[in-house]
């Protein structure tokens, strides 16, 4: 049973998504409970899978019993298991929040909305677990197609943003597939474990290098790495409030995780001559993205766009971490990736709440509104601490690791970029916090309906997750170090 868990984590939301149109045809009101139940089951299974992987070691799952390289293999190692658990738990929280935030989009079209959310969750878990590059492509495309549709559900401006997202995203997956084709032409293998044996010996080959660059370009579009981030602020700014936290928290992070997989699990040779160039490229792109993203965020007036650029700058931070090609950087980056998923999710949950409950869209609105809810303000303060990188949130420990990795690699420029990003991030969050705290007077606060428990639960869980990741940073980082210790870096 235990070894079947990864496949079940994927199968549950997929089957429900396929059944959803039928169920919705019979009764529309059944869609939301069904989606929540399915996502909760997925969360339970993925947490069980994480527990199994941590206590019994990694699981290599071959579909239908066909052993790789002929069969299709899934790899549930600690990194994949923890990411899958993160995906499904955040999925449940976003569904809880989406149903209660007051965004009417999904009430009008419940069937396509919940089908797309479940397909997105299934695709994300598949992309996390998949053990070969071509399956990763297929799941990446499942994720992207549901993401385009989810953005477009909003209608109006979002249609154009979704179309741009689709153009960029499809070019991204086409480039990724091209890179996979080059790898296949050079090695005759697609399985990550098989490639890991062949690729390090072929680093001089132009085909492998070209394939790697094509994959980097394709995944850079998917993760919104700085020069290729154009689609992200529009898509997240215009998309439906209920769906954006899911997209912001998960889609870009999973693309980044796939890049980490290719770089460390396939290339698996940090110190060899052949890959020094590619690591330097990754580190430089990360420096550009983190500093420029934070500076653009500082200039934004719209809250959602500000958080979107904040997310772009954090993708850059993770890239700096993996670009140092050492153990500290890799574990720090994977740990920070996990934190960033929770932080982005929390920020867009708050931004959506601000729009629908308080009518706050921009910084100036924030100065006028009187937000006195301890749930909203508490979660915001925790998320801000995490984004800036202050203890006791996980953001601090992840950033510290990345900084230490840069110093260890003798790369003061990268360390400087991390510090500058931190200061600029502090700038825009301090400004927002100041507006929120001073804004409005207690007397002018209008009567508001009581906040539903689902919203409070979602926010409390997100804040607790950010704090828990920080407080238990030691065991998590240690587990990640053991999980990645076998890689030759």
């Amino acid at each position: 049973m235990i070894e079947q868990l990864p496949a079940l984590v994927f199968a549950v939301p997929l089957t429900t998504a396929i059944c959803m149109p039928v169920a919705g045809h019979v009764r529309k009101s059944v869609c939301r409970p069904l989606a929540l139940a399915s996502a909760s089951a997925m969360a339970v299974l993925s947490v069980a899978s994480l527990w199994a992987v941590v206590s019994h070691g990694s699981v290599r799952y071959s579909f239908s019993g066909w052993a790789p390289p002929i069969g299709i293999e899934w790899l549930a190692d600690p990194v994949a298991a923890v990411m899958a658990a993160g995906v499904s738990v955040l999925g449940v929280l976003c569904l809880l929040y989406g149903g209660a935030v007051g965004d009417r989009t999904h009430d009008r079209h419940p069937v396509p909305y919940y089908t797309m959310v479940l397909l997105l969750l299934a695709g994300l878990s598949g992309a996390v677990y998949a053990g070969d590059l071509f399956n990763i492509f297929v799941f990446l495309e499942v994720v992207s197609l549901s993401a385009y549709a989810l953005v477009a559900v909003q209608g109006g401006r979002a249609l154009v943003s979704a179309f741009r997202y689709l153009l960029m995203g499809t070019l991204g997956t086409a480039f990724y597939l091209l890179g996979v084709g080059y790898f296949y032409a050079a090695t005759g293998a697609l399985n990550i474990a098989d490639l890991a044996q062949q690729v390090p010996g072929l680093l001089g080959s132009k085909a492998v290098m070209a394939g790697l660059i094509f994959m980097l370009v394709g995944l850079a579009i998917k993760m919104a790495l700085m020069p290729l981030h154009g689609w992200l602020p529009d898509a997240y700014g215009d998309g439906p409030t209920a769906a954006v936290p899911l997209l912001a928290g998960l889609v870009t992070k999973v693309a980044l995780l796939i890049w980490v997989r290719i770089l460390f699990w396939v290339m698996a040779a940090g110190e060899s001559q052949g890959t020094a160039g590619i690591f330097m490229l990754v580190s430089s792109l990360g420096m550009l993205a983190s500093v420029a993203g934070a500076c653009i965020a500082l200039r934004q007036r719209n809250l959602k766009r500000m958080f979107a650029y904040g997310g772009i700058s954090h993708i850059g931070l993770v890239m700096i971490g993996i670009g140092q090609a050492n153990q500290t950087g890799l574990t720090g980056a994977v740990y920070y990736l996990l934190n960033d998923a929770v932080m982005q999710c929390a920020l867009f949950v708050l931004a959506g709440l601000a729009v629908h409950r308080y009518g706050v869209r921009t910084l100036d609105d924030a100065g006028r509104a009187a937000i006195r809810s301890p749930w909203v303000m508490g979660t915001f303060v925790v998320a801000a601490l995490g984004m800036v990188g202050l203890p006791p949130t996980g953001g601090f420990f992840g950033k510290l690791r990345i900084l230490l990795a840069a110093l260890e690699a003798g790369n003061p420029l990268a360390a400087g970029a991390v510090i500058v990003t931190t200061l600029v991030t502090l700038g825009y969050f301090a400004r927002l916090l100041e507006r929120l705290v001073r804004g409005g007077s207690a007397e002018s606060e209008p009567e508001r309906a009581k906040m539903p428990w689902t919203l409070r639960a979602a926010m409390a869980a997100l804040a607790a997750a950010m704090l828990a990741l920080g407080i238990w940073n030691d065991p998590i980082l240690e587990a990640l170090t053991t999980a990645t210790g076998g890689l030759a870096i």
Binding site: F134, F137, V138, E141, L145, Y148, A149, A152, G155, G156, R157, L159, V160, A162, F163, L166, L167, T170, L171, T173, A174, L177, L178, G181, Y184, A185
Partner: protein
């Protein structure tokens, strides 16, 4: 330069792939009509699929089905089926993308009454 040309002319399939890819990218970037952008995108995807197919081509080889009673098995006599299987999957993915994108374009047309990117952006302002 001469060597490069020589190498390129010995691989006409790769030259065709590069031309298709760049042509598709050019159409996607330069045209203002959303449907034409999609045609360019489709060309890019098709070029990648074409590339995958050509990596599996082999001269003088046959369908990878070993007939009963055939003489001894030699790998050289059969085409590698994997690139074609990948291609089939990639084509399905491409069709799904095309379906979603055409659905999106038709929603945009109904909402904005135009397919011209500039006109739509004007209406958004």
């Amino acid at each position: 330069m001469h060597e490069f040309l020589d190498a390129a002319l010995h691989r006409p399939n790769l030259v065709a792939f590069v031309v298709l890819l760049l042509w598709g990218l050019y159409i996607t970037v330069t045209h203002h009509n959303l449907v034409k952008k999609l045609i360019g995108l489709y060309l890019v995807q098709t070029s990648v699929i074409f590339f995958l197919v050509t990596t599996g081509a082999k001269q003088g080889a046959t369908v990878p089905v070993i007939l009963e009673g055939a003489a001894e098995f030699t790998a050289d006599a059969y085409v590698n089926p994997l690139p074609q299987v990948l291609t089939l999957t990639a084509i399905v993915v491409q069709i799904a993308t095309l379906g979603v994108s055409l659905g999106l374009v038709s929603r945009i047309y109904r909402r904005f009454g135009s397919l011209d990117e500039d006109l739509i952006l004007d209406k958004l302002e």
